[in-house]
Every structure is written in structure tokens, then in C-alpha cells.
Amino acid sequence: MEVIQDTRPLIALLAPFVGVVGIVWAGEKRANLRETITLLTGIFQASVVLSMIPLVLADNVIEFHVWQIFTNVPLLLRVDGFGITFAAVASVLWIATSLYSIGYMRGLHEHAQTRFYTFFAISMSATMGVAFSANLLTIYFFYEMLSVSTFPLVTHMQNKEARTGGRTYLSYLLFTSLCLLLPALSWCYVWLDGGAVTMDFLADTGKISFFSSHTQLVLLLLFTFGFAKAGLMPVHSWLPNAMVAPTPVSALLHAVAVVKVGVFCVIRVYSDVFGIDLLRGLDGERIMIWIACATILISSLIALSQDNLKRRLAFSTIGQLGYVVLGATLATKQGMGGAVLHIAMHACGKITLFFCAGAIFVASGKKYVSQLRGLGRKMPFTMGAFLIGSLSVIGLPPLGGFISKWYLALGALDGGYFWVVVVLLVSSMLNVFYLLPVAVTAFFRDRDEEEDEDGKGMKEAPWQCVIPLTCTALGCFGLFFFSDVLLQLAGLGH
Amino acid sequence: MRKLAVAVVVLTGGLLLYAATDFAAWGDPESPASDSDVSKHFIAETGVDTEVPNMVTAVLADYRGFDTMFETVVIFIAGIAILAILKLTGKDATKTPGKRKDEVDDAPDLIVTHTVRLLVPIIQLFAFYVLAHGHVSPGGGFQGGVIMGASFILVALAWDLPRAMDRLSVDRAILLAGVGILIYAGIGLLAMFLGGEFLDYAELSTIFPVSREMARYHAMLGVEIGVAFTVTTVMFAIYASLSSKGRLEGGL
């Protein structure tokens, strides 16, 4: 493995900030210019990230030293396979979301759009930061930045509902990060050789064995629940509450960036701070598998009972995040790989579903599953994409979701947890039960007569909405057929 | 409140008495306070260093001159703060206050005014004496200044505030207080510009035809005069502000 010094991680990190300047400068009055800048920034960022993939595939890591936080701890950016997988997914999907939000925000005549785009860009910068972090403290910095910068997005509506949602959102995220994560971090940094160990993901994996196994378990719990963005039960309820945000936010941040930052951090801690070997030897590690499995099943059951489409998707997200954490807790190579893959696969599938939910809202103002009868004929593209997204999340070939679930199952068997495979199967069945009815209702149930009255003029959503969701739906296929690259980045390739 | 006060008092008293068990013997010449290098230096070497016979004055104005400068500043602050708190400005100032019930319009008493007329010059002369003689006997800027200030207050008491303010208006008093600070700090600064530390009076010997010791001796008189300026004027300003509730008219 070769270490290359390069500024590209930093450029990917700072590009959104340059974008922010442009966005604020263009402002509300020059809306077209503002949106163009957003799109260009997204494209630029994605291309910078993608340009690093060949280097990483050639078994290199890219590093950039930004600044010295403490005596021994630098703010270090490092691009490795895992990080770039996540970064690439997030930045590519940002382009789609940017386009989508033009249609969405204009379609609904939303207020304060400049603020929306500004904080969206800052959130993306923070996401890149997490993806490229080289040690725990760096991750913590960007993690907090993400929590704060998404708050104005969640409370975008500025009404009572937004206030309640925003309160829950922020209190969960900040309480866990400040009360669980911060003490855990300072515990690690100080007691390991008085700060000489920097918790670097590359160099200091497994150094935590310095502590007694008891302490290790406590730290494991602190870290897992400290990263509450991972949505593990019982610190999950911020996610359904965050659904008061405009749909682009829900789509990119609460299906891709924010929640994935959570599981990303958890995987980092499991695989690069503790390390697979140490984790396997840990007595209490089984608890984590139970928690992950419980999260998967319980959230799927709750999702069944939700009529609000976005809330149903939110609980589905919690369940899918459980898969990722599960993959990490299995402490096998396949399991970890499956977790990494599932980040990408689920991102693509779930963003499609959210895009569709938003497109339905823009076109018809419908929020509830029970209101969707007959909508499939009016909005064929949207509902078609919804079906594809659902199937991918359920995990059917030839869609991306299948591959990640496959590796997760392999990992479970490898680790000797046969019952976990059963849990995976059961939960896939539950996925079918709560996702497919949506598409079925839309396509095969006729509209009531009185509903036809107000739905006469209904047509497909604006093109800015339809194009992105079609693209991401196709992406679900694409990921299945071109999964070699991802497998290699996840460390499962040849 | 009372219970709390009793509790605090009992606790503090206990602490104080506990500390007293360990005090140095009463009047013991060997006690650390009396026997330390510093106090021995003050007693033995004041004459050598400054040629001032009154050690208290030498310690006050020279060895610990920096303390004394801020002591003067404290007095100055008191004057300014009282003015800032009480003085009525803007609309409030022009409003004529209603007469108090106990206020009487009688003319000043003949005996009192005549006595005061005789006394004031003597008091002021004495003030100068106390100020100037501070080097060799108890006295100095603070004491002289207070006596001087008292003479103005006496005028205000015997007649009324306006009459005293004819001689020293509060605005001018505050200006003069500032002048006092300027004299003190100015001497310090001058010493600094002449190459020494701040307040190193000995350096003044480079521009005055005296020895280093005598430079300290004379500079001490200079700063005492500065102190006297501030104390005199601020004492009067405090009296004037307090007695007239900040309106600076009438008074008691």
C-alpha cells in the first residue's frame, strides 16, 4: 500500500463552500444562476471524488494533512476504499438531488430557497469530511458539523411541526454525541499513552486492546450509540421526526448522507479502531448483533403500520441501517464487505423511493399510502421507479440490493450465526409486505369516484423531478451489473 | 437572613479564633513580619536610599509608590463614579426639584459664617503644612488633601453649596483630580523616559542638579502634591454630589 499526498480530498471538501459563496451571492433574485451553481458544484465535487477511484483501486491511499488538532492528533484526510465508496455514492447522488430539488422546491413555491441550498452544500462538505477522515477525532469534527448544518434543513418549514421535529432531531444527535461520544473519545485519547496513540484508522487498529475487556465493551457501546445517526434502536426516533424536512433533504440526507454517516462511523470504529480480530474475541460483541437484529425486525414491523409514506420509508431506513450495523458486528470479512456494499445499494434504492414520494407530493399533494390508488396510471414513470426501488431494497436480483444481502448472509454463516440468516430472510419478507403494497395500490387499485373529481388534472411530476428518479432507479440495475468496482473497493474483489 | 448571618458569623469567628491560636507573639520583635529582610531594609536603609526620615512616607511614595498611585486612582474613580451615578443629565437636569419639607430658607447663621471665615485660611495653611511636612513627621498627600477638602466642605456647610462651588466647582474639581493623577503618573512616566523603570524617581537626577537619593526625596514631594490635588478635589466632589443628590445645587 502506497501513501500519496494529494490535495484532492481537501478540494472535494471545500468545493461546496465555494459553492455556498456563489449561492449566497446569486441569492433569491437570480434563482436560475443559483441552481446552476449548485449543480456545477455537485458535478465538480463528484468528478473530483471519482477521479480518485483509479488511484485507490491501484491499492493506494491518498492523504492530506490539514491541521494539528492536539499535540499528537492531526486533522488528517485520508481516502481509502471504504471512504471513497461512500464519498462517491454521496456526491453522485448529490447531483441527482440538486436537479430534483429544483423541481421540488419550485413546484411547491418554497420560501428561503437560498438558505436551503446553502446548508445543503455545507452538509455535503461535512459528509465528505466524514468519508475522508483518517482518525476518530477528525470524524467527530465533521460529524458534529453535519448535525448542526442539517438543522436548518430539517426545520425548513418554520412551523410548529418543524419545531417539534427539529427538537427531537437535534436533541437526539447532540445528546448522544456530546454525552456518549465525547467522553469515549477523550477516554481513548488520553489513556492510551497520554495521547500518543492518535486512533488513526490505519496505524492504530486494535490498540484499544490496552484496556480491559470490560472497558472495551463499555467503549464499544458508547461508540455505537454515540453515533446516533446510525439509527440503531433505541436512539432511532430522530429519523422519523426528521421527515418534516422537504423531501430532497429526506432523500439525500436521511436516506443517504446523514444516516450513512452514522453507520459509516460505526463500521469505522468496528473495523478500524477495534479491528475484526479484537471484535471477535470480545465477549459482549454478541449483544450488538442482537441489538442490530432487533432493530431490523422491530422497525420493519413498525413500518408496516405507517400510513404516511415518508414515515414508512423512514422506518424502512432504520431497518436497512440495522443491516449495515449487523454486517459490521458480525466481525467477518464478508460481513464488513456486505455492510459497505449495503451502504451503496441501499442509498441508491432508498433515494429513489424518497424521490418518488416527493414527486407524488409535488404532483398531487398526497402524503399517505392509502391515497395512492390509481396513481400508477397517472404517473407511470414515478411509480415504475418506485417499484424498482422497492424491489432493490427487498433484495431481488438483478438489482443492487441483492448483492449486499448476499454478502451479509455469507458473513453471518462465516461467523457461525445461522440464526442471523433467518433474521435476514424474515426481514426481507417484511420488506415485501410494507413496500410492495404501495406500488400495488398505485397500479392495481381503482380510484374512488369522488377522488376522481379532484384528481382530474393530475399528471406526472415536473421533469426536474422525474429525470433524477429515473436515473437512480436505473442505477439500481447498474449497481448489480457493475458491482465489480464496488466489490473491489469494499475489499471483497480479487 | 438573620439565621444565615448568625451562621456565617459563627463560622467566620471560629476560623478567626482558630487562626489566632497560631499568631506570632504580641509585639514580638522576632516575629516574621517585623524581622523579615524587607521590613529591616525599610528601617535600616530608607535613609540611605531616599534620605527621607519618615519611613512611612518613603515606603508609601517610593518603595510602594505604585500602590499609592493606584490608591490615588481609586479616589479618582470614586469621584468619577459618584458623578456618573448621581449626576442628572439631559431632561432630568433641567427639571426643577420640588423643595423638601425640611428645607429652610433661612440666611446663613452669622456666628457660624464668621467663625468659618476665620477658620478656613488656618485650616488650609495647616493642610499645606501637613502635606509639605510629610517627609519628616506624620503627614503627607492624603492627610493634607483631606484637610484641604474639609475646608471647602466647611464653606458649603456654613453657607450653602453654591458658595463653595463658586470657589471650586465640581467640574473643575474633577479636572483637578485628573491633574493630580497626571502629576503622579507623569513623574513616573518621565522617569521611564529618562531610562529607568516606571516610577524610578532616581532617574530624575539626570535632569535635576541633585543626587539620586535627593531626586527620590524631591520626587516624593511631587507625587504627594499630586495625591493632595486628587484627594482635595474628590472629597469635595463627593460631598457636593451626595449632599445635593446629583443636582449640584443647594446641598444640605
Binding site: 420560501h111 418549514m157 467522553p183 495521547g195 | 529582610d37 524587607v38 474613580i77 516606571f198 524610578d200
Partner: protein, 519 residues
């Protein structure tokens, strides 16, 4: 001239103050520039001093006032200014904060205390003189005089405001005098036992004669400690602070709130480390056992009281009381990292409190009230001001990369290493309270929901706010620039925390404090 840079630190504001008195009558408009210029001079002197201190071998400079130099006279004959790294850093913070407040104060002074610019700036500058002097003096009695200089100017500055402020000042006078007199009494005991007033001299005698067991010394320690705790508004003695600071004129609270309590904490650190010495303070007294628990009570109570406030300025004052608890705790958990955290927190807390109070002053001026009700939808009107205000808020919460994060990090670390879990828990508790407090504020500033929960508009698109509540209406530049500067300082101290901490560490290194990492 360079060797006299220390003298500039107090001479510039002193002469500026006298000049302001002279100008106070006819040329009031000149007072503000005079104040700014003289503080600029002091700032230059301060930076020059810091440069020299860092460059010098022992990292400290002795400046013997009156020329009573150490090589020809015994130590303690004259008054010594000792600029070591700790004192110089805090002094620089004092002057820097004062400089920003002076810039900021132009409008508020002429509006809130009309025709009193002269007295205001005189007192203002003398306050700075006193506080900066406290940081540098090496003489225990001179410290008392300077404390009184700072206190008296403080009384004057606060009572200049409304009648309510005067009523609050009275409590301040009483408690402040008790505090200062206790300190004076303690110094008297010290003098009785050691025969000198010089801080280093006292320390030398304590070590030579092994005075640790002496009852008088123990009581002296208690009185000095109590006096300082009262002065810094440590929890049970905090009664004077919230009312005094929240009713004081804007510029006054902006100057006093960041500085006074912090400087007193510096005095406590100075007394424990330099005067009594590490061994005496931490090993021979009960304070290390007792005080962390008091700190826990203090932090929890102050944070809870802050939670109950519905007035911005009042809430901030309770936060100060809680922060005082942090710093006192950092000292008395008796740990190297705790002390680093405490000292760093003194610096960062001064900056972030400044930022918040400057912001609150602008809000008060714009909205006419600092009650929470007045805050709704302010972000739309004053985005820049509010951004500056938020930076201060984030720093108080302890979010990276603001300086508040780093100080909290060191404090938590110190608490953990000393195994003072109760302190760590109290810190985390109050962090949570601050999250609630500030996001409650941010929510109000950001959202357009009335206190009652009633909505203004209909969600999407229009918010139906009256015209004057949505118009872009930024604070005047003379107030906005200092606020943004202070916000920038909060961020910069965070980003360059390593440089500051290195200075603090090279001050603490020779003291051999327990590091607790060799488990």
C-alpha cells in the same frame, strides 16, 4: 522602549482615562476615539510583552516598579510586575476584549447614558487598567489594590444604568467588599507569617520554613480562597452577578461579563500555584477533596437556573456562573490536564462570552427587549449578526472547531484522569443544558413560531410575517464588526488552540502536577 512595554499596558489606559475626564465636558465626542487609541496602545504593549516573554529563557519577565531591582535590593522591597506566560496570556485577553468592546460601545454609550461619555470611558479604561494589572502584578497587596480598582469602576459602570441596575449594584458592593476584605485579611495572615508581600517571596518562605501545618496559613488560605470565590461569583456566592450584569448598560455588561469572573479565576490559579505553591494548596488542604463536589452542585444549580430564564441577558449571566464552576473544578480536580483546561477555558470563555454579549446587545438595541419573545424570526433580519451570535453559542455548547470544544475537551480529560467522575458528569449535564438553551434560542431566532406555539403563516411559501419583521435590517457596522471579529477570534483560538496550549503547558511544566496517564 521595548523593555518598558509592560508599563504601557497600564500607562496607556491610565492616561487615556484622565484625558477622557478632561474631554468629558466640552468635547464628549472625542472620548470614544481616545479610549480606542489608548487601548490600542495597551494592546501593542501587551503583544510586545508576550513576544518578549516567549523569547526569554525562563519565560518570565520581572519588571521592578520604582527601580527597586532584585540585584541591589531584597525581593519585596518594591513592587514587582511579573509577566509569566499565564499572566501575559490572560492580560492579552483582557486588553483584546476591552479593545473590541471599546470599538463596539460608541452607539450604546451615547444612547443609554447620554452626556456621560466622559465618566463612562474614564471608568471603562480604569477598569481595564485594573484587570490588566491584576494579571501581571507579583505583589499580593498590590493585587488587592488593583482588585479594588476593578471593583470600584465596576460599581460605577453598572450603577450608571437604570435604577434597577443600581439596586443590583448595592448587592455587588456588599458582596464585593466582603470578598475583597477577606482577601485582604488573608494577605495579612500571610504577611504575619512570612514577612513579605511578594508572591514569590511568600512561596519561598513557605517552603523554607515549612509553614504547611500552621493554623494561620490554613486560615489564610481559606480566607483568600473564599474572598476570590465570592468575587468570581462561584455558585452560592453568585447572588450579585445575574442582576448586576443583566441590568447594566450594554457596553458595561459586554466588558464586565467576559472579564471580571475570568480574571478572578486567574487570581485563584495564581494564588494556588505561585503563592501557596502546589504542595500546600493541593496536598495540605481539604480543598481538593471538598471543592469538586461543591463545583458539581454549582454547575448543576447554575445550569438549572439558566434553564428557567426567559430573558436572554439573564440567561447568559447564569451561564457565566455555570462556566465559573467549570473552571474552578478544573483547578481543584488537581490534575495537569484539568489545569490546562481551566486556563484555556478562561481564555476561550472570555472570547465566547464576549461574542454572546455583543450579540445580545445588538438584539437588545434592535428589538428593544432581550426577552425570548422578541427573538422570533430574527435570523432573516440580521443574518450576519445572528451568525456571529451562533458561533458564540456553539462555543459554549462545545462544538468543534470553536475554542469551547477544546477547553471542554481538556476539562473532561482532566476529570477522567483524576477519576473525578462526578465532575465529568456535571460537565456533561451542563453541556446538555447548554444545548437545550442555545437551540431553544436558535429555534426562536430561526423559526417563525410564536411563544404560544401558534404559527404565523401556512407552512409552504409565505410566512405572513409583518413587513418590519422580514426586512433585511442588519446592525450598524460599528457594532457588527466587533461582533464578527470576536466570532472570528472564537474560531481562530479553536483552530490555533495548539499554540495557546503549548504556552500554557510550558508554564505548567515546571510545577510537576500529576498527569495521571501512567496507568
Amino acid at each position: 522602549m521595548s523593555e518598558n512595554s509592560i508599563a504601557l499596558i497600564f500607562a496607556c489606559p491610565l492616561f487615556g482615562a484622565v484625558l477622557c475626564t478632561f474631554l468629558g465636558g466640552a468635547k464628549r465626542a472625542l472620548c470614544h476615539p481616545v479610549a480606542v487609541v489608548s487601548l490600542g496602545g495597551a494592546l501593542w504593549g501587551g503583544i510586545e510583552t508576550l513576544r518578549r516573554v516567549v523569547a526569554s529563557e525562563s519565560h518570565e519577565i520581572s519588571y521592578l516598579l520604582g527601580g527597586w531591582t532584585l540585584d541591589s535590593y531584597p525581593r519585596g522591597v518594591g513592587i514587582e510586575f511579573r509577566a509569566d506566560l499565564l499572566g501575559t496570556l490572560i492580560m492579552l485577553v483582557v486588553i483584546g476584549v476591552a479593545f473590541l468592546v471599546a470599538l463596539y460601545s460608541k452607539l450604546t454609550v451615547s444612547e443609554e447614558t447620554p452626556e456621560k461619555e466622559g465618566p463612562f470611558y474614564t471608568l471603562f479604561l480604569l477598569q481595564v487598567t485594573g484587570l490588566a494589572g491584576i494579571c501581571l502584578t507579583g505583589d499580593a497587596f498590590n493585587l488587592y489594590v488593583l482588585i479594588e480598582v476593578a471593583a470600584l469602576t465596576g460599581y460605577g459602570l453598572i450603577a450608571m444604568g437604570s435604577a434597577r441596575a443600581a439596586a443590583a449594584t448595592f448587592n455587588y458592593v456588599i458582596l464585593g467588599t466582603i470578598g475583597a476584605s477577606f482577601y485582604l485579611l488573608g494577605v495579612g495572615y500571610l504577611y504575619m507569617k512570612t514577612g513579605t508581600l511578594n508572591m514569590v517571596g511568600i512561596q519561598e518562605v513557605i517552603v523554607q520554613q515549612d509553614l504547611a501545618d500552621s493554623a494561620t496559613m490554613q486560615v489564610a488560605f481559606v480566607f483568600i480562597g473564599l474572598g476570590i470565590l465570592i468575587k468570581m461569583a462561584f455558585f452560592p456566592f453568585h447572588a450579585w452577578l445575574p442582576n448586576a450584569y443583566s441590568h447594566a448598560p450594554t457596553s458595561t455588561s459586554c466588558l464586565l461579563a467576559p472579564l471580571v469572573t475570568k480574571v478572578m479565576i486567574y487570581v485563584m490559579i495564581r494564588m494556588t500555584l505561585t503563592v501557596f505553591g502546589v504542595d500546600f494548596s493541593f496536598e495540605e488542604t481539604l480543598w481538593t477533596k471538598l471543592l469538586p463536589w461543591l463545583v458539581v452542585v454549582a454547575i448543576v444549580c447554575a445550569a438549572t437556573m439558566a434553564l428557567a430564564q426567559r430573558d436572554l441577558k439573564k440567561m447568559l449571566t447564569y451561564l457565566i456562573v455555570a462556566e465559573v464552576g467549570y473552571m474552578v473544578g478544573g483547578v481543584w480536580i488537581y490534575n495537569y490536564y484539568g489545569l490546562v483546561g481551566s486556563i484555556f477555558h478562561v481564555i476561550s470563555d472570555a472570547c465566547m462570552t464576549l461574542c454572546l454579549f455583543l450579540g445580545a446587545g445588538i438584539i437588545l438595541r434592535k428589538v428593544g427587549t432581550s426577552h425570548f419573545d422578541g427573538l422570533k424570526g430574527l435570523f432573516r433580519r440580521m443574518p450576519l449578526t445572528m451568525t456571529g451570535f451562533f458561533v458564540g453559542g456553539f462555543s459554549i455548547i462545545g462544538l468543534p472547531p470553536t475554542c469551547g470544544f477544546f477547553s471542554k475537551w481538556y476539562l473532561i480529560t482532566g476529570g477522567m484522569l483524576a477519576e473525578r467522575w462526578e465532575y465529568v458528569v456535571a460537565l456533561l449535564f451542563s453541556t446538555m443544558v447548554m444545548v437545550v438553551l442555545f437551540f431553544r434560542l436558535i429555534e426562536r431566532i430561526h423559526l417563525a413560531v410564536k411563544e404560544s406555539g401558534e404559527e404565523f403563516g401556512h407552512g409552504h411559501g409565505d410566512l405572513d410575517l409583518p413587513e418590519n419583521e422580514t426586512r433585511f435590517d442588519e446592525a450598524p457596522l460599528s457594532m457588527l464588526i466587533p461582533l464578527l471579529l470576536s466570532a472570528a477570534v472564537v474560531l481562530l483560538i479553536g483552530i490555533y488552540n495548539q499554540d495557546v496550549v503549548n504556552l500554557v503547558e510550558s508554564f505548567l511544566e515546571p510545577l510537576n502536577l500529576p498527569k495521571g496517564t501512567d496507568r
